[in-house]
């Protein structure tokens, strides 16, 4: 499930947060493109929205599924949940893998019942990514707690945990899988610079 960008199978990231895009790909677009990724987002200098807050849809976002390789959409939150994908052109049933990213340090997803409710509201999904962390205060206790709570929610929901994501240094201590058997994805963080 780990994606790697190649010439033949590129990866395209799409900034598809339409509600409250204060953490966005906009400011780090150049950095990501230098890493070999393709990014569909308003660039810091090309952004002409004069916007109050809302990001603006662009047609290259709607037509992203026509691109070669793997396309990753970041959809943020929103009361419409998975319905946001209705906007996409040629979005045939089953073309998308929809993963709910949950963090037990967010109040709405801090408990098993919370996660179950949240994910159900989002709509039909294919897997959960356990992204439990407490910013730079993250420690192994929080990671372990996240693994237990998210795995339990995944059982109730009947959808697999796709991965437990952990910042690189901590991930090295845990190894390739966590104690519940979920794959561990080590993370390099860019989000610190992504505040618009």
């Amino acid at each position: 499930m780990y994606l790697r960008a190649t010439e033949e199978v590129p990866i395209t990231l799409v900034d598809f947060d339409l509600v409250n895009p204060f953490y966005t790909l906009r400011p780090i677009k150049d950095t990501l493109e230098n890493l070999g990724l393709k990014v569909i987002a308003w660039g810091k200098n090309t952004f002409m929205g004069l916007g109050e807050a809302s990001s603006l849809l662009r047609s290259d976002m709607l037509w992203a599924l026509h691109r070669k390789g793997n396309i990753v959409f970041d959809v943020g939150y929103g009361t419409y949940g998975a319905e946001i994908f209705n906007l996409l052109e040629d979005n045939a049933e089953g073309r998308l893998n929809i993963f709910g990213v949950v963090n037990i340090c967010k109040p709405l997803t801090s408990t098993v019942t919370g996660i179950v409710k949240y994910v159900k509201e989002f709509g039909k999904i294919n897997g959960i990514i356990n992204n439990s962390h407490w910013g730079d205060k993250t420690d192994i206790t929080i990671i372990n707690e996240g693994i237990i709570i998210v795995s339990e929610a995944s059982k109730i929901l009947g959808v697999p945990v796709i991965s437990t994501t952990v910042e690189k240094k901590l991930a090295e201590k845990i190894g390739p899988a966590d104690f519940m058997g979920n794959p561990v994805w080590p993370l390099t963080l860019y989000m610190g610079n992504a505040y618009w």
Binding site: K44, N45, F47, M48, G49, L50, G51
Partner: protein, 364 residues
């Protein structure tokens, strides 16, 4: 319509402050007033709407002060000398368009007749709108504010406000108060041109002659920016311009500011009492002086600091709880002269009050 001048020659007049504003605006060539009723400025609108018909000037009573303020901005954008008058909660509501006037360098004129606050306060009097008028709104206070103390000044500075606004393109204010608004007092009214005051011609910022896209490019005026950097550049540019012109705009007056034992500072109508008290005390041989800012924004900082530096003690007197004193202290940062305040929020201050306070300071 007659091209006759509203005021010919010099005329003695016995008017209220509000009537004086209206006559000054007429003589100063104001084209249009937008207003909304609030005491104690109502009579500005009453008088203006009554006296304008022979002179082809206009008046619109809007649905609220927000509208009056925005329409005032619009009139100026369209190249007309426009003004409004308000007070208290109306001034608070009008901060939104005042802030647009700062952001877009709109030469709109605002008359403020302060009433008591906070909230509805009283309809009578105060000096509690100093902070709001000089630094209100979500901005940096790029406003030019004349604080007047008598009817002659109301007349002179209302005329001057139009020239200042249209010369420098910052919103310009004449700030009085409820006492001055309703007070009836003598003054001389005149035609400014006959006195040799050259009235600045207004220029439109939109709707210039010619077909946009054919004879000239279209004008697209905005006050919102996408990036922090764009806004930063605008702010720095406007601040530099405001600082640059401040030297040409600031006005103040002082008496015995060389080495007084007590220097009294006050603005607006309170200065009348300060003036009277200092005159009396000087007659009695006391070494006291005064400093009075006429422009409360921008402040005549050089003259103020000089006067404060030379004084042994400073007394700031105002009909508010330290709104002027806070500004004075900020402007005088680094000076060691002790500054104290005599504050009567929402109350008038008379000369005997000042004398008593000054004498107490002298004894300490």
């Amino acid at each position: 319509m007659s091209n006759k001048k509203p005021v010919e020659g010099e005329k003695r007049a016995f008017l209220t402050g509000n009537e004086t504003v209206a006559w000054a605006a007429l003589a100063g060539g104001a084209d249009i007033m937008y207003g909304y009723p609030i005491t104690p400025q109502n009579q500005v609108m009453h008088t203006w709407s009554r006296i304008i018909p022979p002179y082809n000037r206009k008046f619109l009573q809007t649905e609220d002060e927000i509208s009056a303020g925005f329409a005032n901005c619009a009139g100026a954008l369209a190249g007309k000398k426009s003004f409004t008058a308000t007070a208290g909660p109306g001034n608070a509501l009008m901060q939104e368009p005042q802030s647009m006037a700062e952001a877009m360098r709109i030469p709109a004129v605002f008359i403020i007749q302060q009433r008591g606050g906070p909230s509805s306060g009283t309809v009578i009097y105060s000096q509690q709108e100093l902070t709001l008028t000089t630094y209100g709104g979500n901005g940096e206070g790029w406003r030019i504010v004349y604080s007047v103390c008598n009817h002659q000044e109301i007349y002179d500075y209302t005329i001057k406000a139009f020239n200042t606004a249209w010369t420098y393109r910052f919103p310009t204010y004449v700030m009085g108060d409820g006492y001055q608004a309703e007070l009836r007092e003598a003054l001389t009214i005149y035609d400014p041109e006959e006195r040799g005051i050259k009235m600045v011609e207004p220029q439109p910022m939109v709707g210039m002659p010619g077909k946009p896209g054919v004879d000239r490019p279209p004008v697209h005026l905005v006050n919102i920016y996408s990036l922090e950097e764009e806004l930063y550049d605008v702010c720095i540019k406007y601040q530099m311009e405001f600082d640059r012109i401040s030297g040409e705009i600031t006005e103040s007056e002082g008496k015995n500011t060389e080495n007084p034992d007590v220097l009294v500072i006050g603005h607006g109508v309170v200065f009348r009492s300060i003036h009277e008290a200092v005159k009396e005390m000087m007659k009695d041989g006391l070494n006291v002086g005064y400093f009075r800012p006429v422009t409360v924004r921008p402040m005549d900082v050089k003259a103020l600091r000089n006067a404060v530096k030379n004084a042994k003690k400073v007394l700031v007197a105002e009909s508010s709880l330290g709104q002027l004193e806070r500004q004075i202290k900020a402007y005088c940062y680094g000076l060691t002269t002790p500054i104290s305040g005599y504050f009567l929020p929402g109350m008038g201050i008379v000369a005997t009050d000042i004398e008593r306070e000054v004498k107490a300071l002298l004894k300490k």
